[in-house]
């Protein structure tokens, strides 16, 4: 992807996805000063890059597209990456929590970050995701309006994006304030990511008319 935003195909968007995961992780690492999660995030990034290189990119003619469209893509993929990271952090949380509750901490346990740190990192990541998704969706609506003359097209992608927003906002609330904080919130965060994956795969390929690759 030597030029601009990779919105030509699924592979390019996956590669971009990988970059974004890495980038957000670096940001989280700086804010929360915890580095022990890195080894768990890295394989994820590598897998994304590997998939994105399976196939050579075949250049094909692209309809004219503008800044708003590029913004829409970038922000959406940024949001997905942030959600992916939140899910990985929640998974580590669940693992760590399980070790603690079984009272048999061993192996790498002592090098793991604290539950509290994992939870906060996951929440920050979800917050980044929400903000990016809001901005990405808004720019999407603007672009749709330019293209079709109206903002809302009833596309499944539009519906699921709004659903994701609601779910992640709920997660932020649940993980901080309610009796579900802790492991249940972490599981909810992973469930939310299943939604993201659904949107990224099934919705793109089979359901949506306007979203083919992202």
């Amino acid at each position: 992807m030597l030029h601009g935003v990779p919105y030509e195909d699924l592979w390019g968007s996956l590669s971009f996805f990988g970059w974004m995961v890495g980038l957000i992780y670096l940001g989280l690492e700086l804010v929360h000063r915890g580095r022990s999660v890195g080894p768990f995030v890295l394989p994820f990034v590598i897998i994304l890059f590997s998939i994105s290189h399976i196939r050579d990119v075949s250049p094909h003619p692209t309809p004219a597209r503008g800044t708003i469209f590029a913004l829409h893509i970038t922000l959406s993929i940024l949001a997905y990456s942030a959600f992916a990271l939140a899910a990985v952090l929640s998974a580590i949380y669940l693992l760590q929590n399980r070790l603690l509750r079984r009272r048999k901490p061993g192996g790498t346990f002592w090098r793991f970050p604290a539950l509290d740190v994992l939870e906060r990192m996951s929440r920050s990541s979800a917050l980044v995701g929400i903000l990016a998704l809001v901005a990405g969706t808004v720019s999407g609506f603007i672009w749709a309006n330019r293209l079709h003359g109206h903002y809302w097209n009833g596309d499944p992608k539009e519906i699921i994006s709004l659903l994701m927003l609601v779910c992640y906002a709920t997660y932020l609330l649940v993980s901080r304030q309610t009796a579900w904080r802790g492991a249940r919130a972490a599981m909810f965060c992973m469930f939310n990511f299943a939604l993201v994956l659904f949107s990224y795969s099934i919705v793109n390929i089979y359901l949506s008319r306007y979203h083919r690759f992202y």
């Binding site: 760590q96 603690l100 509750r101 009272r103 901490p105 061993g106 346990f109 002592w110 090098r111 793991f112 970050p113 604290a114 539950l115 509290d116 740190v117 304030q177 309610t178 009796a179 579900w180 904080r181 802790g182 492991a183 249940r184």
Partner: protein, 425 residues
């Protein structure tokens, strides 16, 4: 260039003897000064902790004489009968010293395998000796290397990462749950030795707030005063459970102090904010089934002891990796040492050749009267040039050997063949 070490540690000497041979900072300075002024050692460093008293030095005499001299001085300084020391002292030379100090810095020689405190003590001892001007190039190099070994061992191996005392294991677990404890609070129930150790660790780790409760209000006040904690009335225990992030309980009671329903109500009131319970009581103070509650983490004495045992084994299993690292640094140090040695050997060799040349010329030219001063000068220069030409290749070869063992063997051979050792002033 030799290094010697004389010392006692917890393996070789009883605590009574260790107490008697401990060095106060003043005594360490005095020893360093006297050993140098008496010409026993040219560099000295004293390392004295509760588990060891060691004198490191670079001898001015041959190592054997120095060792005997050092031993006499050691006994005299501490006003001990030298016979008391026999069998309790260890002596090391050269590579043995290097390995020993590296092992000490790595925590391998400590009573508690892998403990980190010793590295700070080695650093302090080195700093003190350095500031006092007692060390020189050899000990400086060796102790800097030892500090590096200690740092690397801690960063690259697991020998010091896992807690190996029950109290510290409890505190580390709390940190695995809550992260830094600076914004957290603990409630201490009852008073026990281990419970007290937990409190000490918690204060060390900067816990924000401590609360104490005891059946006897008087006892609670006493503990609160000692730990700078708040007193909670025993009757308010249930409502008090809503606040702290962790509870450490060591109460001598027949039945559970914290039963499941009580913890359950507390969790509801806390909105399920995580609660870490450490039960140090025997019989147990907290019902085991309370540990099944959501976001409650319950550990009893046996759980913690098992963790400690596992961690001790894990630390021991790291020893080979630490030894490997130490070997690597010994090799590095010896390579440096042999480089210095080469320079010294070549200097000795040149001095010897100069002496030979002068002696030879004096002898041969004494009777030759028809040679002018200018010619004498010329002959002398030629002789010098010739000798230089003879050694230029051997010197290049000596410097060119990179394999340490070969290099040391060559050095030894040069010293022996040219008789450099005997003539050393």
């Amino acid at each position: 260039m030799e290094i010697v070490l004389l010392g006692v540690n917890h393996r070789t000497a009883s605590v009574e003897l260790r107490e008697r041979v401990a060095f106060s900072p003043e005594k360490a300075r005095r020893a360093a000064a006297e050993l140098r002024s008496r010409g026993v050692l040219s560099e000295t460093l004293v390392l004295s902790t509760c588990n060891r008293s060691e004198v490191y030095g670079v001898p001015t005499e041959t190592p054997l004489e120095t060792m005997a001299e050092l031993e006499r001085y050691f006994a005299a300084l501490h006003e001990l009968d030298p016979a008391l020391l026999t069998g309790n002292l260890y002596r090391h030379r050269d590579a043995g010293v290097v390995r020993h100090v590296f092992r000490v810095a790595a925590g391998l020689d400590s009573m508690l395998l892998g403990e980190a405190e010793i590295l700070g003590q080695v650093r302090d001892a080195y700093q003190a000796a350095l500031e006092f001007g007692a060390t020189g190039p050899v000990l400086n190099r060796m102790f800097q290397a030892a500090l590096e070994v200690g740092k690397r061992v801690r960063a690259e191996t697991e020998i010091g990462t896992r807690p190996v005392s029950v109290a510290f294991a409890g505190v580390k677990l709390a940190e695995q749950i809550f992260g830094k404890l600076a914004k957290h609070s603990a409630l201490i129930l009852g008073a026990g030795t281990v419970g007290e150790q937990v409190v000490e660790h918690l204060s060390d780790r900067g816990i924000a707030r401590l609360m104490v409760a005891n059946r006897s209000m008087e006892r609670a006040r006493e503990m609160a005063a000692r730990w700078n904690a708040e007193v909670v009335a025993w009757s308010d225990l249930e409502s008090a459970l809503c606040e702290p992030d962790m509870v450490v309980s060591s109460v001598g009671a027949e039945e559970a102090v914290l039963a499941r329903p009580m913890v359950e109500r507390a969790m509801a009131a806390r909105g399920n904010r995580a609660l870490f319970l450490i039960d140090l009581g025997v019989p147990r103070n907290i019902s085991a089934d309370a540990g099944a509650l959501y976001n409650v983490y319950l550990y009893n004495v046996d759980d913690l002891s098992e963790i400690v045992e596992n961690n001790k084994r894990a630390r021991a299993s790291e020893i080979p990796r630490v030894e490997e690292l130490i070997d690597e640094h010994i090799l590095k140090f010896q390579t440096w040492q042999s480089g210095v040695e080469i320079t010294a050997v070549l200097r000795d060799l040149r001095e010897k050749m100069a002496r030979e040349r002068e002696g030879f010329l004096r002898e041969r030219l004494a009777s030759a009267e028809n040679i002018s001063a200018a010619e004498r000068e010329r002959i002398s220069r030629l002789a010098e040039e010739l000798l230089e030409r003879v050694v230029v290749n051997p010197v290049a070869r000596l410097r060119g050997v990179h394999e340490l063992r070969q290099r040391l063997a060559d050095l030894e051979a040069v010293r022996r063949l040219f008789g450099l050792d005997q003539e050393k002033p």
